[in-house]
Subunit: 243 residues, 2 copies
């Protein structure tokens, strides 16, 4: 699955096509990052959460928001993707947005609990339930960050309460941000902003929204080469780049 | 110890003086971050290493360097400060500098070992010894990042091999970057760039160099208020700000 974009800064001579990773390749990169390069889960969640918050800030600067208050809703699943959502919400708070978190099923994983505590101690509100009346969500928030699913999701299988939540999110009229997750099947939600956490996955070829960003700057060059990622050049010290 | 600068974005009405933390206060903030807010050591090292690399990039953009190659030397101690140096070197590599690391005494701490592996696997060279002939250092590198000491250093006491290394660094003619460490005594090194990792420490009032930056954007607002930090406003999504 290939599409021609600007090539990596390491091979300026010829345009190389950006690659869209399969589910297996995405898993293999994460395995290499953890096992070979010894990146820690806490470190990766922090890097990705920060990058997602930066992506939101880039696409929706506070002055561009339609509502008076810079309110955002971050919906978090119980696995790693949800923890990235928690870190993203915290960084959005630091960037002076007003995030609210909906985290219906809390993980017992100590690492994820710590990311939760950081948000709670920073006085980020947590919703006890998600309104099923979508208008209430659209009225209260400028946008929704959907951090429910992750690469760990079983293809095609969405357990409750997430099925119901996704059915609600499918109807909202405000912009929806999510990171690309190669679950093997589409849930019918069409995000406005897609953030590819390491490199674009194959599901990103079905993306119909306006803003596709990649957040893989931290990725060691040897891994970029091994998986022939041909990532675009990141400007300055930016951790995300628009495709 | 106070100095008037721009005040925090949270109290725009009146100028509040920036505070310079005592050693005890700096320790108390870090304790709160870890124990109350549940920030993890891996997470903090990653945040601080990234912020230091961003500070170096801000003060010394690659196009401003005098040497043809964007070479930098990062000297790392064996405690947390050294690990921040390792993370800083890795991010500088990602920002397309050419860091070399001198890490004379490796820690047996598994967390610090992982940060070392990340650098090794990214092909960042490690020096086996530091030339005592300072001209060799000045010829080879554009600048030195000194990540030897940390807040954990015993006041006034510098153990070998760091005493000898600091004596060498004292003589170099190229710019030296370090973060502020409240050791209770000065080692006579006068850095050109000072990065305050959370908020400025009292030792920063003795800083005679040109560039003083603060890297405390991630700090929860409640802690900023509790310790009356009155941190300056950070532009955009920047993690550092010049004072």
């Amino acid at each position: 699955m290939e599409r021609t974009v600007f090539n990596s800064s390491h091979s300026k001579e010829e345009i190389q096509p950006l690659r869209y990773l399969s589910r297996a390749e995405a898993g293999a990169i994460e395995k290499d990052l953890v096992e070979e390069f010894r990146f820690g889960p806490q470190q990766l969640i922090e890097i990705w959460g920060h990058a997602c918050a930066t992506a939101v800030t880039k696409v929706f600067p506070r002055r561009s928001l339609l509502k008076k208050q810079p309110t955002l809703l971050v919906v978090c699943g119980c696995e790693q993707n949800g923890a990235i959502g928690l870190a993203c919400a915290r960084h959005l708070r630091v960037f002076e947005y007003e995030p609210t978190i909906f985290y219906p099923k809390r993980s017992s994983n100590a690492l994820y609990r710590d990311f939760t505590t950081q948000c709670e101690k920073m006085d980020i509100p947590f919703l006890s339930y998600l309104p099923t009346e979508v208008q209430l969500i659209s009225d209260a928030y400028n946008l929704v960050v959907d951090a429910i699913l992750g690469v760990e999701a079983t293809p095609g299988e969405v357990l409750e309460p997430y099925g119901t939540i996704l059915a609600t999110l499918k109807q909202i009229q405000i912009p929806l941000v999510r990171w690309d997750v190669e679950t093997g099947s589409s849930d019918g939600i069409s995000p406005d902003v897609l953030v590819s956490l390491v490199a674009p996955k194959q599901c990103a070829t079905r993306f119909m929204g306006k803003h596709h960003l990649v957040a893989g700057r931290f990725l060691p060059y040897d891994l970029q080469k091994k998986f022939e990622l041909n990532l675009p050049e990141y400007p300055g010290t930016d951790c995300v780049v628009s495709l």
